[in-house]
Chain length 96, copies 2
């Protein structure tokens, strides 16, 4: 029960599903014994990642705090081989 | 030239215009002598606020660093008097 989990297991990638799908995934991580969960998103899903973190914190895991937020730019190569930049966010929630 | 500016003057609210409108506003603040600019947004504009910060930092004001990022939930009352929650973000860029 106290085994150490890898970073990937504790990372939730937010995409285009409704926010509650990701909220459930984050809450499940915390309930499974994780004390830190990372929420990641790119592009338009960034707003949904913030919604996810806020809903978890306000409604479901009230001792979870926003420990860190990082933003970055990733380079995406599309099918035609052209590069474009997309913003990304990484929100770390922690109950520690 | 070294007069102290109020927080509001240094705050750019990101809405639904193209990101470059807000990039220009932020760059103008820095060029006008501010060493700290806050970028704020709510709801779906949050992604655009992150884009704005990243474009400023990568292309226009390369000594600007992300000093702080805060997320929060605001309660909005609509015309029918019903409350709804909306996520918000506040990104602080600084050249100090």
């Amino acid at each position: 029960m106290t085994e150490k989990k890898s970073a990937d297991e504790n990372t939730i990638f937010v995409g285009n599903k409704p926010p509650m799908s990701y909220v459930l995934a984050v809450v499940t991580q915390f309930n499974g014994g994780s004390d830190t969960v990372q929420i990641k998103a790119r592009g338009r899903a960034i707003s949904r990642a913030v919604d996810t973190a806020e809903i978890v914190r306000n409604r479901f895991v009230q001792d979870a705090k926003v420990k860190d937020i990082k933003i970055d730019t990733e380079i995406i190569t599309n099918e035609e081989g052209r590069n474009s930049n997309v913003s990304s966010i990484e929100i770390t929630l922690s109950t520690k």
